[in-house]
């Protein structure tokens, strides 16, 4: 049997293995060393690798990213940690104007093999400045890769690939997933960036999700199966590069799609998927592509309220039921 470990442990293993494999890999961020990371991902690494490879930085998000970038340019393979994605707002110039553009802007002379690990989302009632989901911003920036693992297995394999990638990667974890257990083999493996994963096969509808919403979608699929609706669940895993082929293949089969993410629906990444699907599968779709996402509101620092802001299993089930019956209704009408 494959052993089970937590998401945070899988991430730690990826860091540890990459640091062992490649002496150029190092970690820099706030409280990553002595504290072991705000979400305990880097626990124990300071003891193992010492303060030159697990670097506790002053509270200076911009220069944390900037310094990581500079080190990457001259030969390092830094993993910078931004404790909450909300604080990435303090480093946007370094991420967007510097790291993302560096290779292209400088005619290919420089490379930025840099991973920015951060976490986002709800789950702790942490409020409007500690719970945002901002992946859509980064996916919209040419030159950045955006990774959003949903399981311990993916977290480990994707982080290893991100570290080995020669481009800046926004590696966005989810604060609600750190304690999640899942199977992770002892043997070394990596997962390529840009390949979606079918987390559950199905025929009647495709649920497209990533990060924590994969689990919500899976739970909805389970529930739908009980009323005879077979849902395929696709975990995008990386938003950039985006594996639309897997999505297209699935929706070509199921003819119905729902995109689910925790970020606000309005202007969220789900729009990209929905827009793209209707462009490419206009004649195949049996129903409009539906989007489910967070309400367009600053997140309340209230655990009960924030739950009402983000999509639930019940909402997904409801939407899928509507899609199926609408279609039935249309079919009936045109018969």
């Amino acid at each position: 049997m494959v052993r089970k470990i937590r998401y945070r442990e899988a991430l730690r293993e990826a860091l540890r293995e990459e640091m062992q494999r490649d002496p150029r890999v190092f970690v820099i961020g706030e409280d990553v060393g002595r504290y072991g990371g705000a979400y305990a991902v880097t626990q124990g690494l300071l003891q193992e690798f010492g303060p030159k490879r697990i670097i506790d930085a002053p509270m200076s998000e911009a220069i944390i990213v900037g310094a990581a970038l500079g080190a990457a340019v001259v030969g390092g393979r830094p993993v910078a940690e931004i404790m909450y994605i909300d604080f990435a707002t303090l480093a946007m110039d370094q991420i967007v104007n510097q790291a993302a553009k560096l290779h292209c802007m400088f005619g290919g002379q420089l490379k930025a093999p840099l991973v920015i690990r951060t976490q986002q989302g709800t789950g702790r009632g942490a409020g409007p400045q500690h719970s945002q989901s901002l992946e859509a911003w980064f996916a919209h920036v040419p030159g950045l890769k955006v990774v959003m693992p949903a399981t311990p297995y993916d977290a480990k394999g994707l982080l290893k690939s991100a570290i080995r990638d020669d481009n800046p990667v926004m590696f966005i974890e989810h604060k609600g997933l750190y304690a999640l257990e899942g199977e992770v083999p002892e043997e070394e493996y990596t997962i390529p960036l840009g390949v979606a994963d079918i987390k559950r096969p199905g025929n009647n509808v495709t649920l497209i999700a990533y990060s924590n919403m994969v689990h919500t979608a899976l739970a909805a699929a389970q529930e739908l199966s009980q009323i005879g609706i077979s849902a395929e669940v696709i975990d995008l895993r990386t938003l950039a590069p985006l594996d639309m082929d897997t999505v297209i293949t699935s929706v070509t089969k199921t003819r119905r799609a729902v995109v689910v993410h925790e970020a606000s629906v309005f202007g969220g990444f789900g729009a990209e998927i929905a827009a793209s699907l209707q462009e490419r599968l206009f004649d195949i779709l049996a129903a409009p592509v539906r989007r489910l996402g967070g309400l367009h509101v600053p997140l309340p620092a209230h655990s009960q309220l924030e739950k009402q802001v983000v999509p639930s299993v019940a909402q997904i089930v409801q939407v899928v039921k509507e899609m199926v019956s609408t279609e039935v209704a249309i079919r009936a009408a045109s018969a």
């Binding site: 303090l90 702790r124 409007p128 309340p300 009960q304 309220l305």
Partner: protein
Amino acid sequence: MEDRETLTNLYHTMLLIRRTEEKILELLLQGKLASSMCHVSIGQEAVATGVCSAMQPHDYLTSTHRGHGHIIARGGDLRRIIAELLGRETGYCKGRGGSMHLVDVSLGHLGSNGIVGGHIGIATGAALWSSLQNDGRVTVAFFGEGAMTEGIFHEAANMAALWRLPIVFVCENNQYAMSLPWTHATAEHSFARKGEAYGMPGIEVDGQDVLAVRQVALQAIERARCGEGPTLIGAQTYRFLGHSRGDPSPYRDKEEETRQRARDPIRIYQEYLFREGVLTQTDVETIEAKVAEVIADAVRFAEESPSATLDSVLEDVFA
């Protein structure tokens, strides 16, 4: 020497902060807080108390993630504070802001903030408006020493000194930013030098001595009000507990903790008051009782209040 009433009030305020935060920790352990975010300032009460005592009613302040003390010292309504932490509609932010976003605009309290240093911008802007309007108000920006290495501190300090804005930058140096010791945050620890880089005075003060804090705050606020510009105050204090719940602070030296905890600002001040004959043991007990009653009332009020609702949040997205 200050008058008896002022001296007593300072003691009362410090005790109220301490006991309120102890109660908050209790509520937290009982799982009653609506949010997981909660940072107490136990050990640092003299800073909030001393500074706020030096402010005028029409002055402004902005506060931090560790801001219970600031709003209490400013005279905030304990009922609305506890209600906020319990996620009730009667709270300061209608139950949606929690511990990190306390605010009372009627007291000139312009909000606590979850982004370390984030509110320093708001403070600078309030002072800018006061300067443009010549309205005689002074703004106090509280922040931890962790905020001093954020870019926004630099931009704000520079702008404030350049335009001689009526603002006082109060750094509560509790020696740690989460696990990062101040000694590992910067190579230069002198607040005088840090202030001078912007052309403003930097003054260090024993943050465990409420009267000393009050004195430097009075001077800095006076200076600001007279149009002489900002001051950077470095109040040396200590975070008695962990950064937040579930932080046993293994990164701190236990001997250091013991030594620092021995300098409890409330005990130090109580001894002073006894020594000076300002208060007696009976007075102190009366104050304790009053404080306990106010807190009990606030908790009762909060627990009886209706929970926050999402509808109410949605109504407030835009003004």
